[in-house]
Symmetry: C2
Subunit: 456 residues, 2 copies
């Protein structure tokens, strides 16, 4: 029998890794709920028609399809089989596909339940998604997304609160972060002023690469795409002035004065920045970045991206406002705004910066050593009392050699070992060994419970 | 555009349902960790060879296969395509399949990581599984399993603790439960005494149906299968004497006296029951049931099933000991024992018995009404203070009509609405309306925080 393996681009999450991942998910979940977002889960597979055509041609290629069960060929027309065209055959033998993101299933849910939902509808969703991308470092075929969206409200207060959520989660996790913000309407204004309104998407895609290919690269790409010299000059000017400081902000405002939509974008941006400043952020900073574009073409207002200060890693969060997400399913004009936390990237950043608490190593606080039937039976009520007090406790299931039992505690990162021998049974005390310091103390059950409660 | 839908046998879990499901999952997770079980997650799809041949022919038919991406037909031999045999073609165009349960992926994980794992390895796993079963009431194509297993230990102490976990979880959830226990070795003993050792599996399958088809039905099935009259008589005698009371236990012991394995089964059973009795259960009862068989053929020792007292519903939990789960992947002789909670069944039982707490209706404790920009800006620092104090709080994002805002709180089950108007801004107090009683009080921020903390 060959050694078993797992599919390319997938991962097992061992207990040690799970503890760290759950630490991240808990922080995200807690903040989502703190701000009134409620959990939603959708099925892992959707009808294939729900997903196709929503992610562009490239996206469509990356959707995992689920084969129909039973004698799936019996329903396929012979011509289609004879053609030997994979794409055509796939659509005849697969009715379902694994979800590619959480946004489209969310839109589908909203449309299906529009008469039951209380709008504005604030939902969060933490579930895996699947993409048939070529696996590489940091890119997986199965990975979790953590999304919060509110639909049915145009209010920019939602943007303000989503910025607060970025800050709260990342401050809780101690990840030093810069929240970058821009507004699609500003980019639309730039396209107007540069005379390329009809090629807004192409311009955005090029600008989106500024980080990776620099201004020169962007200019080259626009050139290659046949943008006029004038337009390119105008766009570069915007990109150069860019960022941060107030005077640039004023310069931008002056340059966009003739674009109504551009001015609207600036107004929205100022509102969000103003409110955020008045409430104050904990540990993150926020920064306007006119070069922030975000690839997704459904964004129409505010856009966000979060980067980690001091290490080079792509963005760890993103998001933005969209005016018509549910339109694809026949429910137009439902504006919404949402954000997404990239759990894998955050995990990598926290690993690099050594930010995971030591205590995550084990859920179990005490291991009772096992000397045999008498000691075992004596120990069980003690274990019960500790567990009832909320302390995670286990007993080694066999009377194995002490060395082996201590090694088990060590391997599992259990911080304390309780040793109950004849003497302890007589004195009614528990001998507790601190696995870090090696110190041993004799404690009554009550003292042990108090010690552990202070230790959690 | 046609109204979107979801695939047969799958479900969306709305926030209201999610709150209830998470209530169940939290109770399960808490107890698993209380007893030293640690979380594990495996990929949603496995290599198809990992799954096929592990669940019997019937199971194999129910495995969902994932279509290979790209031009999958290019790797298929023309003969296979010409044959138009769905089963053969499937194995040429699908390398991956969705997991069918959590047990096989767990065994695969243990074998792959045998040199890194600290044995005994206690893991729990709460993830969805997929089966292409015909959907019907209470049976879904995607559903969660909640498993805890320990491998690498023969100790019956594990069984004792797993029984305690059943009791703790179901007592926490207030589900009145009977834990049924038997031992496969007793069934093997019965087969020996009845002279049908070589047809143990057939006998077990028949006995397993006793609940549904009665003793008469079992006798008929054994008859149909060609068991001799003598054997059937002997088996029925065991089934008749069965259950509960000590004298029957003694009768069973006497009848099995000539079967070494049968006596071993009784010894194991007594050990578990003894220990459980000495520790005591909270709200559940435990009951020996010689007719409990469990279909799965990998069980070799203790077997469990849990039923809800007073309502007719299949078992809500199950489990048992297996001697050679990892043998299928080339690692023999790793004994283990595990249990599984059926989240959907528990959900149904709790709904029927009205056991979900009222407070689950909303995560949000307070909604701030929104009267416009001035009140909004005044309110935001109050929201921040409440959230920092750990109180889930939201503000209606627009200055909509009060009626609409109160309806929103009502629909979402938010228990309190804070109203901040001109008067409140002047007095520095918050007008808090209790949505259940209709009472209104004026509170300072500090008083509000204390009131809410007592309310959580």
């Amino acid at each position: 029998m060959s050694q078993p393996s797992i599919p390319q681009g997938t991962r097992d999450f061992s207990p040690e890794v799970m503890a760290k991942r759950n630490y991240i998910f808990s922080a995200v979940r807690k903040s989502f709920e703190r701000f009134g977002y409620q959990p939603l889960e959708t099925p892992s597979f959707e009808n294939i028609s729900t997903l196709t055509g929503k992610y562009g041609d490239e996206g469509d290629q990356l959707i995992f399809k689920v084969l129909n069960n039973g004698d799936f060929l019996s329903k396929v027309a012979p011509e289609i089989l004879d053609e030997k065209n994979s794409k055509k055959l796939a659509s005849s033998i697969c009715d379902k596909a694994l979800r590619y993101d959480l946004t489209v299933p969310f839109a589908r849910f909203v449309v299906m339940n529009q008469n039951k939902i209380a709008f504005p509808f604030k939902r969060y969703q933490i579930q895996p998604v699947w993409r048939a991308d070529r696996p590489q470092k940091g890119r997986y075929r199965e990975f979790y997304q953590c999304d919060a969206d509110v639909v049915g409200s145009n209010s920019l207060l939602n943007e303000v609160e989503l910025v607060q959520i970025f800050d709260e989660v990342l401050s809780d996790l101690k990840v030093p972060s810069i929240i970058k913000i821009n507004n699609r309407k500003i980019l639309t204004g730039i396209a107007q002023v540069a005379g390329v309104s009809d090629r807004m998407m192409e311009m955005t895609i090029a600008i989106d690469k500024l980080d990776k290919i620099g201004l020169e690269g962007v200019v080259k790409e626009l050139n290659d795409r046949g943008f006029s010299e004038n337009s390119i000059g105008c766009i570069s000017q915007f990109l150069e002035q860019s960022n941060n400081a107030d005077q640039n902000f004023n310069a931008l405002e002056a340059s966009l004065a003739n674009s109504e939509i551009g001015m609207k974008g600036i107004e929205e941006l100022k509102y969000v920045l103003d409110y955020v400043a008045s409430i104050g952020l904990r540990d993150s900073s926020i920064e306007f970045d006119v070069t922030l574009a975000r690839g997704l073409n459904y964004y129409t207002g505010s856009i966000f991206e979060v980067k980690v200060k001091g290490i080079s890693l792509g963005s760890i969060c993103g998001g933005g406002r969209y005016d018509d997400l549910t339109g694809i399913f026949g429910l137009p004009n439902v504006s919404g705004v949402g954000i997404s936390f990239g759990a894998d990237r955050i995990y990598d950043a926290m690993t690099e910066l050594n930010l995971f608490p030591e205590a995550l190593k084990s859920n179990t606080k005490i291991l009772f050593a096992n000397f045999g039937p008498t000691e075992e039976k004596y120990s069980l009520p003690l274990l019960k009392a500790l567990r009832n007090a909320g302390i995670n406790t286990e007993i080694y299931p066999d009377a194995a050699k002490m060395k082996k039992q201590f090694k088990y505690a060590d391997d599992k990162g259990i911080p304390f070992v309780a040793v109950i021998g004849e003497q302890e049974m007589q004195s009614n005390l528990i001998n507790l060994k601190d696995m870090t310091s090696g110190d041993q103390v004799q404690l009554s059950l009550d003292e042990l419970i108090i010690k552990m409660k202070n230790n959690i």
